[in-house]
Structures are given as C-alpha cells and as structure tokens.
Amino acid sequence: MVAIQLFNEIGSIFRNTPTYALVLETLLLIAVIWLLLHRRGAGNSRRRRLTKEEEDQIIADYTPEPLVADTDPNHPLLRTRIVQSKVGKRITVDGNDCLNLGSHNYLGFLEDQDILEESCKTLRKYGVGSCGPRGFYGTMDVHLDLEDRIAKFMGLEEAIVYSYGFSTVASAIPAYAKRGDIVFVDEAVNFAIQKGLDASRSTIAFFKHNDVEDLERLLIEQEKRDQKNPKKALKTRRFLVAEGIYMNTGEICPLPELVSLRQKYKLRLFIDESISFGTLGKGGRGVTEHFNVDRDEIDLISAGMEGSMATIGGFCVGSHFIAEHQRLSGLGYIFSASLPPMLTQAAISALDRFEQEPQIFQQLQDKAKTLHQKFSRFSKLTIRGNELSPVKHLYLATPAENYDKELQLLTELADKCIAQGVAVVQAAYLKDREHQPVRPSIRIAVNRLLEQTDINAAFDTIESVSSALL
C-alpha cells in the first residue's frame, strides 16, 4: 500500500517536472559518473602500477645524465689570473707589477695601516671565526657596534650586518617579496639581485635600463590589472628594486624620478648601494646624498662592504620597522655564521675614516671624473658609466661578431696590459645564467690614490695595446 503511494508520488514528480529539467539532470548525472570514472581511469593508464620485475627492469635500464657536463679546458673562466701581492694602488698579477685598475678598492683602504692594526687587535681579542650564527652566541659586541655605527652614519634607525656581500641583497629581497607580489626591476641589475628575485618567487617586471618612462608604462599596465581585480590588488605588494651605481654598466640610477614614481604608485623602493655607498655624495652616504633625497623615501638600502669599505660582508639599513624584520626572515642572516670579528672591526674602522676625512669622497669623485675624461678618448674602445662613478666599462668600439669573440679580444687586451704594467680585467659573467645577455667589457675600478700621471700612463698603455690588437 505504502509502496504504491510512494510509486505514485515519484510518478507525479516526474510528470510535473519539465522535460528539459529531466534531460539536464540526467546529463549532469552522467557527467558526474563519467568524471569520477575517467579520473580513476586516467590515473590507471598513466600511473599503471608496474610489477616488481618491470620496476627492476626500468631501474636496470635507467641511465642518468652525467652529474655535470664536460668542461671545455679552454673555458675563459677556468683561466684566472693569480694575484701575488697585497692589493693596493699597485698589484702583482702573474708576476707583473702593475698599476691597479681592477680591484674594487675605491678608497684605497686595503693599504691603510690603521685599519689593519685595529683588525689585528680584534683578532687578538676574539680569535678568527665567530663559530656560530648570530642567534647562537655568534653576536659579538663588534657586530652590534658596527650596526649602530652604520645606522647613525646613514641617519636611519637600524642596520643589519650580513657575512657575505652577495647574500646581503639576495636575502633581503625574499624577506619581503613573496609569491604573488610584483617586483619592478631595472634590467641591468647585478646577479645577486637577480638571485634574490628568483628566491622571492614574485612576479618580476623588468624595465629598460634607467628608463623611467618604460617603468611608468609597466606601472600603468599594472594599475589597469589592479582595477580589473581590485581584490587581488589589495594583497599584492609592489616593490621597486634598483642599484645606486650599476655594477654592470657604471651608470647612476635616476633616484628622484624613481622616488616620485614610488610615491605615485605606492611602491616600496629598495636600493642596492654596493658601489655607491662610500663613493657618492659629499659624505660618502651614497646615491641619496648625491641627489639630496630624503633617506626616509627609500624603504631599504642594502650594500656590500666589499668595495669602498675594503672588507667582507654587507649590510642593510632602513627604518626599525623594515630592517628588524630581517633578523627573523633574512635567510643569509639567520642561518649563516656571523661575520668574523676582525673583518667587522675593519668595517668600523673604515666608518671612522669616513667620518674623520670626508674629503676622501671628493678626491675619489675627482679621480673618477679625470679618468673618465681621459678614458673617453680611446680610439678603439668606448667607455660607459657615469663620470662620477668609480666603476666604468670599456667596450669594443666596433662590435665583434659574437660574444665569445668579443670576450676573447678583451681577455687578450687585458693580458697584454697586465704584461705592460696596467692591471685591468674583463668583467666575469656566467653568460648563460644572467637573465639577459651582458655585453663583454673591461671593468675599470677607480682608486682614490691614483695620480694624474698614473691615469695618463694607464691611458697610453691601454691605447697602444688596443690600437695594436683591434
């Protein structure tokens, strides 16, 4: 009785439902069943369980690629020059006593006896290594001193010291930029920044080197995307990364323009001042001082101490809010042993010199200018870089047919110059790992201690070698 009623009930449902609904529901049902079966079926066909014998067979047949490819014994990076003396204004390379235009010892602090004395004193107090990361008894009072001094010198709240120049900016960027964020970067940035960007897993937008219009174009594009998806835009952090002086070109970044774009588009601006710190500006405070830009406009300044400070390591400096974060998130800071105390002391002593003798920066800039003017006159080479920059690049005036040929010519040029007493060196790049090809060049590093006569002599040597060779 009940069964008949139920049957009638179901029948009425079917009768009352429009046909199209029935058809749709049936299709839906079929689709669900099909999907369920298909998924399992697909899994089966692709990931068919192999029997043990089959697996063993595959393992026996498996031939992996060799661990590394063979290296060409004539690879240009395999042949490096041997430095046989203390590095200073003069340097002994492969047995030749040379004028040094290759080491990034801009202020000549490597020859400074006072800095060396104080470092040795520190060695006698703390030993060589620090035997631990900063968290685990690797923090020594010299590290705190240095951080304090850098922050004061730059007029900012907090500094954080890393034990390796490369890892400074490469750790700082991924401490803030994460997956889903967007980073606008100059295409000519150095390799350490590129690795930091890789580690951040953010979306990267490269703009043309020092081209503010191109940057603005990208920013406008991003703005349009944000308007389409405002929800996502609320979560997307935007960063702008540039170098003070570019390692790869020697140019100075257009900081005032970058700062105004930062304000307009609400970006956070990170500047890597590995070269510009201790070289630009009246007091050596870098590109911000050079352009007279308020340092609060920059979110984070990072710099290596391997240039003007003539030691090892690097630091980041910024507001307390920004810099403090790296103490728990900067991978290269947390997981690495701290900077050896004697090298930390060398940085402190270098800062002492910065403060006591601010005229050294003017001297360096004058030398850079003089050298720039002189070196612009090569007949077969062109110079690139800002005239105030201590780093300049010399390129072949008439490009050779390819990268390898250019590099080979420049290497030969450098070799001959070294044989004749001028140490210059072709810039080393991992050609295939840079995000964009970098043109081979001779990278010139200006030293404050160079005299006019040194510059003239270097010019004559390079000019005669290059005219003969090219």
Binding site: E55, I59, T63, P64, L78, I82, V83, S85, K86, I91, V93, S103, L110, I115, L116, S119, L123, R124, Y126, G127, V128, G129, S130, C131, G132, Y137, G138, T139, M140, L144, G165, F166, K178, F191, A192, A199, L234, T236, R238, K266, D296, G304, E306, A310, T311, I312, S319, F321, L331, F335, A337, P340, M342, L343, A346, A423, V425, A427, L430, R433
Partner: protein, 615 residues
C-alpha cells in the same frame, strides 16, 4: 693553541684523579707539578680549604648578574642548590681565568677510542642501537600543545587590549601591508617572551668559555639595554667542535701574519682579480684532506649550498632531500628549479620508496619521462637532531638506483671520524663514493667559508658555473689562513699530535656527556658519537626556563623551538668541543641534573645505567 702548557693539563688530570679516584683508571699525572704556583686557586690537594671560603663568594657571584633570573619551582629549595654547589668546587667559569679557549691535552690516549663505527654489527643495527630517540609521552604532548595554545590566546588578548610597542611604518599610508599578520603576531607575542635566550651578545673568544655582555629588558622583551656587566659562562653553544677558536696560538699567529702581508680582502671575485696562490693551496689542501681529486672554496658556508646547487641541478632533475635538511639546501633547491621530494629523516626504507618511485615512474610533469638525474641530498650530522646520516646504506641505495649523492658535512667535517675527515672517515667508506662533498670552515676549523669537493670534472664545471665563484668576493687572507693552519694541525702536518688529541678529546667528551645525560633520565636525540646533543624539553616555556636558569649557573646553551623544530619538540642543544675538560662537563651535568629535577625534564622511560660512567 699557544698555551698548550703542561700546567693546566696537569691540574685537570689531577682533579680527575680526585673525583674519580674510585675507579683508579686515570693516571696520577706528574706529582711534581702539583702545588706549583701556576696552579692558582685550583690546587686540589688543598681542595677542602678553598671550598669553604669560595662558597659564599660563589653564591654572591651567582646573583650578582642582574640580567638573569633563575626559574625555580616550589619543590626546590635554595639548600639543594647550595648542596649541589658543594659537590662541584673544582670548576667554575667565574673563578677561573686561565687558558681561555685552549684545548687541554689528554695524557692517556690509550683509554680513548676515536669515534668510528665498530663494524661488529651490521650497519643498520649498529646505527639504530647507537641512536637515541624516544616518542613524546602522550601527556607531555598534550601539555605542550595546551601550553602553546595558551600562549597564543594570551597573545591575542594582549594584542586586543594593548597597543604593541613596535615600530610602525611612517609615510606609507595606503600601501599594502608589508608583513604577514601571523608572522608578526608570532614574533611579538610568542617569541618575544623568550627573546632574551637568543642573539645574546658576547665579548670574548667563543672558546670553551665565553663572556656574555649582560643585558636586561624592562618591558618584557620588547627592548633590551646593557647593564655594563659581563658574565663568564661555560660555552656549550658555539660550534667550536675541535676547539680551534682561539685568540692566541699558531692559528691566530699565522692569520695575523697573513693579514699583515696580504691585507684583509681582495675586493674582487675569484674570476677577476681575487684569485691567489693561497686559495689555490687551500683548495688542494682541502682535496688532499678529504681524499678526493679537487675542491673549490667559497667565502660563506650558507652560500656554498645556496649558490651552487642551482648550477648542478635544473628542471627535470629529481632531488630527494632529507626532511631535516638545512635552510641553505632548501634555498639552493628552490633556486635550482628541480623537482624536490622529501623523505623521512634518516629513514632508509622511505628513501628507497621515494627513489624507486622517482626512477620507475619518471617525471609526471613531463609525461612520465625519466628524470635527467636523480640526486640524494643529506647532511653528515643534522644540526637540530644530532643524528648521523646512515651513509653506507645510502651509498648502497645510490649505486642501486644510479643516483648522485650530495653530502653536506657542515657539522661533521673535523668532528667525525678517527682522522677528523667527516662521516666518510667515520664509516670508513671511500670518499669517492660520495659524488659531491660539501662542508663549512666555520665550525671545526674556527674560521668562515665553505667548500665543495669531488672529481676534477665536477670542480672544473663549478669553476665555470658557480655563482659564488664568479660573482662573490674571494676569501679574506687571514680567514683562509686560519683554515689552512687548523686543517694542517688536524692532519698532523704541523708535526704535532695536537690534532689527533683534539679529535680524541672530542670523541671522549661526546660519549661521556651523552651517556651521563642518558643516565640522568632526560631524553636526548641523535647518535652517541655526534657532538651535537639536543635535549628535549618539549614545552615552549621550558626552553626559556632552562636557558635562563643555566645562565645563572654560568652555562651558555642554545634553545630551539618552533619554527626551527616541530611545535611539540622544543629542545636545548649542547655542542661539545675538544676544548672542554671533564671538570667543565661535570659542572654542566650537575647543573643540568638539578634543573632537570626542578623543571621536570626527566622524561625518559628507558632503563638507566646504574654504574658510574667512565670518562
């Protein structure tokens, strides 16, 4: 190691004889030295007299450091502490000022076994017998979670009621917030409570002892200020395994000389104007030390992993990585773009499962085609677990599945094996069976930097492809010199026995300390020959309690909690050193014993060895 003088050695030997006189196994030393003026206040023949006088002095000193507070439960009374002190008058960090940072020489190395596998049992059995591990007791696990949630809840309430005393961003209104909310919450309200246990500044050599620069916080950890006082502590926190951290002695002398002759840096990369004879010599020395064809060195250990793994691996490579691998390896793998699969810590069955799966089924992203190469990535000693890699089994698996092996010996190089050549030496396997040997110079060598070693072909490839080699600054001359001098000492090329003795002393210290800890009934992890000794305290709050209380006893240790370890497994880590003496270890063990009673750290259910442990 300049002060390798017989005097201090004799003093300590003599004191073993006094404390351990019952077993009579230790020689009496030469009696002539006893009572010589250089012994200072440590003359044990008259130990009874100074003990009485020293006691009030010591207890004064203990509380004279206002920066540290002792955490005590009601069960414990002050008398117990006083009694405990009475038992160990031989050594106290504050009392002694001699021989800072220098290893004390062992006289009786007949007694000492270097650390290496015995090979009587099969490798698996021996390894598992020697590795201590215990499951968390259920009630402790519950309490740990409860404690953690309580901390979080209190933190949230705190955050609601009070404005946190942190810097806020200025002039960036309308920007997307820079930090993840949970992350900043965690560091402000959970980590801050025991923030004083980390980043403690020191102002001395991180040798067998160190000097803490005391600091206090008036605002519950938001900020610190220095009191201007210093506290001398026994150092169980630094990675100074072989005791080469010293401000005097041949290492420091030669480093200083090098700095004077070659300066502090080269201001250039190895590929430009940063290469020199010293670094080439260091590389060939490292290769010789490790018993492989060639090696390449870098200025930072972290970067050695992070900047070289991307050159060795690429997309369509499979990496099988231990779950407890170091952050630098994980970063390197992330940069490389290789497929990474993780296997359970030191679990060979799981490793084989993952390997088999990877080799047989290929890369699913690439339609199941085989991977270009498969690499197993492990560490020699895992720094948070204290465990030793099961190398012979891994080598067998690697050969079976034609995988490559990358071995990170950051902690094990120098510290393991009868010649200090790392885990390959310990297990007596051919170092050439490991495709890539990596290690750091920070720890056992007391310097900074790292190396990669292997075949000439591999190293040549790295010289042309390594990020660090091409772009980063070359190693500073005094830093490189420290490595060379200490490495030659370990190898015995300096013509002394010092290196061998240091290795023996470390092995002996390690066994003694680990066995004594087990006897106390605390849970430790790891292998009995591993100088990294994690002691499990589980609860987050106990990490802080133990570190602070041990500091009041002048012992510096390292705590580790979430996120460095799983939430449930808060731990204290002791790092042993060849520079430690038995007196120092006894002193530490006594303090640990007392604190363990007091704070309830004796979690272990294992039977305890009732016999005294022989040093």
């Amino acid at each position: 190691m300049g002060n390798f003088d017989g005097d201090s050695g004799t003093v300590f030997e003599q004191s073993y004889a006094t404390t351990n006189g019952a077993n009579g196994k230790l020689p009496n030393g030469n009696g002539a030295a006893i009572g010589s003026p250089s012994n200072g206040g440590l003359n044990l023949n008259h130990a009874e007299e100074p003990r009485g006088e020293a006691e009030p002095f010591l207890s004064q000193r203990k509380f004279s450091a206002p920066a540290y507070t002792e955490i005590r439960t009601r069960r414990c009374n002050a008398n117990a502490a006083a009694e405990a002190k009475n038992r160990s008058p031989n050594y106290h960090p504050e009392k002694r000022s001699i021989a800072n940072g220098h290893a004390k020489v062992l006289r009786d190395h007949e007694e000492t076994q270097p650390n290496k596998v015995e090979g009587i049992l099969s490798p698996e059995v021996e390894h598992s017998q020697k590795t201590s591990f215990e499951e968390v007791p259920l009630h402790t696990a519950c309490l740990t979670y409860l404690g953690f949630y309580l901390l979080m809840i209190l933190g949230y309430i705190n955050q609601l009621l009070f404005v946190p005393k942190v810097a806020t961003e200025k002039g960036r209104e309308g920007y997307v917030t820079l930090y993840d909310a949970f992350e900043s919450f965690y560091s402000r309200y959970v980590y801050r409570r025991i923030k004083d246990c980390w980043n403690r500044p020191i102002c001395s050599v991180p040798g067998d002892e160190l000097t803490l620069k005391d600091r206090v916080s008036d605002d519950y950890g938001w900020s610190f200020k220095f009191t201007g006082t210093e506290t001398r502590c026994l150092n169980l926190g630094s990675y100074n395994y072989l005791g080469f951290a010293a401000a005097t002695g041949p290492c420091a002398d030669e480093s200083e000389e090098k700095a004077r002759n070659f300066g502090l840096a080269y201001c250039s990369s190895r590929c430009e104007l940063g290469n020199n004879e010293q670094l080439q010599e260091l590389e060939s020395l490292t290769a010789r030390y490790l018993g492989v064809e060639d090696a390449i060195v870098f200025g930072m250990g972290f970067a050695t992993n992070a900047l070289n793994l991307p050159s060795l691996l690429g997309p369509n490579c499979l990496v099988i990585s231990d779950e407890k691998n170091h952050a630098s390896i994980i970063l390197g793998l992330r940069l490389s773009g290789a497929t990474t699969k993780v296997f359970k810590h030191n679990n060979m069955r799981d490793l084989e499962r993952v390997l088999r799966q990877g080799v047989c089924y290929g890369n699913p992203k690439n339609g199941g085609k085989p991977y270009k190469k498969v690499m197993i990535l492990v560490e020699g000693i895992f720094s948070m677990e204290g465990s030793i890699v099961r190398l012979p089994e891994i080598i067998a698996l690697k050969k079976k599945y034609k995988a490559y092996l990358y071995l990170d010996e950051a902690h094990s190089i120098g510290a393991m094996g009868s010649h200090g050549k790392g885990v390959t030496d310990y297990f007596n396997v051919d170092p050439k069976d490991v495709d890539i040997l990596m290690g750091t110079f920070t720890k056992s060598f007391g310097s900074a930097g790292g190396y990669l070693a292997g075949t000439k072909k591999l190293i040549d490839f790295l010289r042309t492809n390594s990020h660090a080699h091409c772009y980063a600054s070359s190693i500073s001359p005094p830093i490189a010199q420290q490595i060379m001098t200490s490495m030659k000492t370990i190898m015995g090329e300096d013509g002394t026995e010092i290196g061998r003795r240091k290795i023996m002393q470390l092995a002996r210290n390690t066994r003694y300390f680990r066995r004594r800890l087990a006897q106390l009934g605390v849970i430790t992890y790891g292998h009995e020959d591993s100088p990294v000794v994690p002691m499990l305290v589980y609860l987050f709050s106990k990490i802080g309690a133990v570190v602070r209380t041990l500091t009041t006893r002048h012992i510096a240790v390292v705590g580790a909690g979430f996120p460095a370890t799983p939430i449930m497994e808060g731990r204290i880590r002791f790092c042993l050193s060849a520079a430690h003496t038995k007196e120092q270890l006894d002193y530490a063990l006594e303090a640990i014993d007392e604190i363990a009673d007091d704070l309830g750290l004796k979690y272990s259910n294992k039977p305890r060895d009732p016999n005294p442990i022989i040093y």
